[in-house]
Amino acid sequence: MENIIEVRNLVKKFGDLTAVNIDSLKIRRGELFGLLGPNGSGKTTTVKLLTGQIRPTKGDAKVLGISILKDPIKIRELVGIIPEQENPPSFLTAEEYLYFVAKIRKLDNIRKKCEEWFKFLEFEDQRDVLCKDLSRGTRQKLMFAQAFIHEPTLAFIDEPLINLDPIIQRKVKDYLMEFVKKGGTIFFSTHVLEIAEEICTTIGIIDKGKIIYKGPIKELKKRRQHLEQFFIKLVKES
């Protein structure tokens, strides 16, 4: 299967601190890849690098065959992104914000698409509320909708489930699993191991900016190894 994401010697430094230092990482089409790691391990920086939001200090990566150095805007045009902190502009309502994103993405049938997402994530009654006044959970729903409204084939999602209630969490998890079944690819950054264990097809563990493990989740299950124990052992050893 074709590689959707290919990373080669990707380094990001902030002053003296090396936040990310990945020698190699390949994600294939149809994978639901979970990037796991402790706080401050480099998960969010990796997502930002791969989506061209920040520039690498060294190295390059290709996302959907496009270099993150050469055309980051094209990458953001094609993929969907849910950032770690949900920060839609303060003074637009939820409905206006979805319209705003859809306009930037030059979509057709905007109203119909917005309607479908409000219905699916069950927040129609919040559509006229200012983004800044939305609860964190509703803001997360809104960010989920904006990331998938243009039907991308690849999505980067950073802790997208943390504030959602169990009913919507279930819906979102099912949506993501269905999405990869249909040929989509998900790059999922989280430190909630239970969710990763439940929905991911492949996992990568990152610590101090380095990928210290990558493999299919099936392998762990075969070895009857619990992800939590495996994760703690690996991070401690690293």
Partner: protein
Amino acid sequence: MFEIFWNMMKEEWRIHSSIFGNFMFALFPIVLLFFSFAGSLVIPIFIEILPLKQVILIAHYSFVLLGLSVGSFGLLGREAMNRRFGHASLIAYSSRNLPISDKRILLNFYVKDIVYYFLLWILPFVFGFAIASQIISVDISYALLFLITLTLSFLIGLSISFFLSTVYVHSLKLLIAIILSLITLNTFFTIYLKIDILALLPPLVFFYNRSVFQVFLSLLIIFVLSGLSILFMKVEYTEKKRRFKDRLEDLSNRFKFSNYSVFIAKDFLDLDRSEGGVGKIIFSFLFPIAIIWVMLYFFLKFVPVNYLIIFSILLGVISSSVYNWLTEFDLFTSYSFLPVKVSTVMKSKIHSYAMINLVSIFILFLLAIWRNELNYFAPALLTLISISFYTLSITIYLTGLYPNVLLYNAKIFLIYVISISPILLVMIFLSMLDPSILFISLTLLLPSFHILRKSYEKWEEWEQPSF
């Protein structure tokens, strides 16, 4: 009590210095000191054109103006901090989760602002003058006198602004009524009683007659206005959900002539729905314009220049502050995960800027009619547009999407002043020769466009900060 104050001071310092470093922020008062020193050196030349009395009057009202702008920033500008740091992260918001009353917090905050701006602005200004006074042979005691009177002027401006913004929070109608009454009173004193009301500013009177009563009067004004403001201050942490009818599509369709219609529509909604709304426009745009209008009225009695033209030059500079509001509501982090370039956001802001600045053109037009100087309207208009775009291009080149933060960087502020002031001086000089020459100001548009192009390249290359 003192602990809250001291921690607020540390907090204020760290907010600024964390953005551009301790050293660069510490340089800001030194740059001011230098400007004050250089400005004071030319006083002997200046008083050849303008009576010394007018120079002193302008110095005092400049500090009233500074106080007015700081006071409104202190109350309305909180919103910007709010978005950057969140409700709970500043001490100013700690009454929510600590056993401290809002009023106590506010009092500390107010005193902190006074001390902070005294150290940052007033002291360097007076120091600069004190050093220069030794060269231009002015008695050093005047520096001490200035320290007292300029501080009082600043505090009067600050307390007026604080009071008016408190009134505004309660009722816009009451604010308008107070402002209209003040204008009427001023007109009555000036036109009917022939009393020069500007000369009655207590610190200014004290400067001449050293009467302790004037200091007492100044302090009375400051304490009464500040006391009333703190007493009636309305502190609201809005937990309610504000709902609005969807207007983005409608507005965006109205701006279809621009490629950035949806961004412009968003800018207009931001301005309309953000706290302060109309008040923000009154305090940071119309208020300074009104004061400059009045000051020019007195200043130009003695200088042979055209009122409309000079006003258009200053209006051009002030109108560039519109860009500061437009960027205040928008952090690039809201766009960084979308297919949007930094330059796209900048260009959209320029379009919004041009549209909002139609207000400046309207003000200039009204003034031309009022002064019966319509024959100078064309050169004044071109001057306004050219200066406004030139100042905007310099602001964008130096600060990108962050003028509200980066203009406090001493180095950037210095370059900003150096890039703009010579152009203003040349314009003023040309207007003294013949106002019609100012058609030439159109040539400023060429470098402005060039600077803007360079700005897009420069800021596209930068990793966007999150402040």
